[in-house]
Symmetry: C2
Subunit: 205 residues, 2 copies
């Protein structure tokens, strides 16, 4: 039996254990992306991974923890990539453009993860029936974007505007870009991202 109750912390998790969890998460991502959230039962995820259903229950506290782990890992990967691209940049305008283009660049190679993320965001609910993750991406992202806007307003690059509205709008615009791209495979994601960068560059001036 696994050594302790560890509801969310990653302490004392062996390499083997971590590998199994990663394998299960990868299967979950693929099943969710291919068949949708509603069909992503533990049985289907286990079958896709070539293991028994009980193994998932053994390595995760439950289906909810598995789903949250999927979200956490995909999100972490995105933010690491984007933050790396943003390093060394100084002006708010540069940061704004890089934020939009960097996310698109990363996700272009991660369609499966992106689709799974969207399914979970739209469907995962708590016991009360409320969405576990809001339709809104999250407060952290908004605050990060708002810092960029405030910087630009401070330096005079940007005009005066409501930074919360701008952050919400930029986040929604990027989400919509991905949603459209996923459902229209021929769509040019990078061109769309450049259009968005232009759009917001003008909107903030």
């Amino acid at each position: 039996m696994r050594s302790e109750n560890e509801p969310s912390g990653q302490k004392g998790r062996s390499f083997i254990e971590e590998a199994r969890r990663a394998q299960i998460i990868a299967s979950a991502v693929e099943v969710i992306a291919e068949q949708g959230f509603a069909r992503a039962s533990l049985a289907r995820i286990a079958q896709h991974a070539g293991i028994s259903k009980g193994v998932i229950s053994y390595h995760f506290d439950g289906k909810d923890e598995l789903m949250e782990e999927v979200v956490v890992r995909v999100y972490t990967a995105i933010s690491e990539h984007v933050l790396a691209r943003m390093e060394g940049l100084s002006t708010a305008t540069e940061l704004l453009r890089t934020q939009i283009l960097g996310v698109a660049e990363h996700m272009r190679a991660q369609r499966t993860q992106l689709r799974a993320l969207g399914e979970i965001f739209a469907n995962l609910r708590d016991a009360d029936g409320k969405l576990r993750f809001g339709v809104n991406a999250g407060e952290e992202i908004y605050q990060a974007l708002e810092q960029i806007y405030r910087l630009g307003q401070k330096t005079g690059e940007f005009r005066a505007f409501d930074v919360r509205v701008m952050a919400l709008t930029q986040s929604a615009a990027v989400d919509a870009m991905f949603a459209y791209w996923i459902n229209n495979p021929g769509h040019d994601l990078d061109a769309h991202a450049r259009e968005l960068a232009d759009l917001f560059e003008r909107a903030v001036r």
Copy 2:
């Protein structure tokens, strides 16, 4: 027993029969909007309508037909309303501001139906697991917005930009505004809408 097999046509449906169907559809919309697609079971819909579960099976060929009827009715009503509002406006800038300020108010009254529509579009699948309706749900709306942008580009009011990207972004921005407003009741919706109108007015120039 109902007189015939009538998979989709509306022929030979009595007034009473039609009223029952409308009542069931209305309950389905409310349950889906409040609890999400996954929790909108026939039992919950029936309970919400104050009728026995079997009544739904009697008036509809199955759950799928009920869901499709919900989509058809709500979508038809919404598109008719939106198109009516667009008549009589002249300049592209007027149309743009009206879309954001006016349609926002319209959506406030229709948000239960819109939410139900979104849930069905995102979740209703056929036996193969494929989405019954694509996410091309907004296609008509996108095309309507694109007409405004092209008009503005033709008259020289607007700069050159990708009209599809702009339509997607504007639509997403308004949706995000409502999502944020629903989750943050103290949020000033009208001020948000004005910020958005300013944002897009600058973005298109």
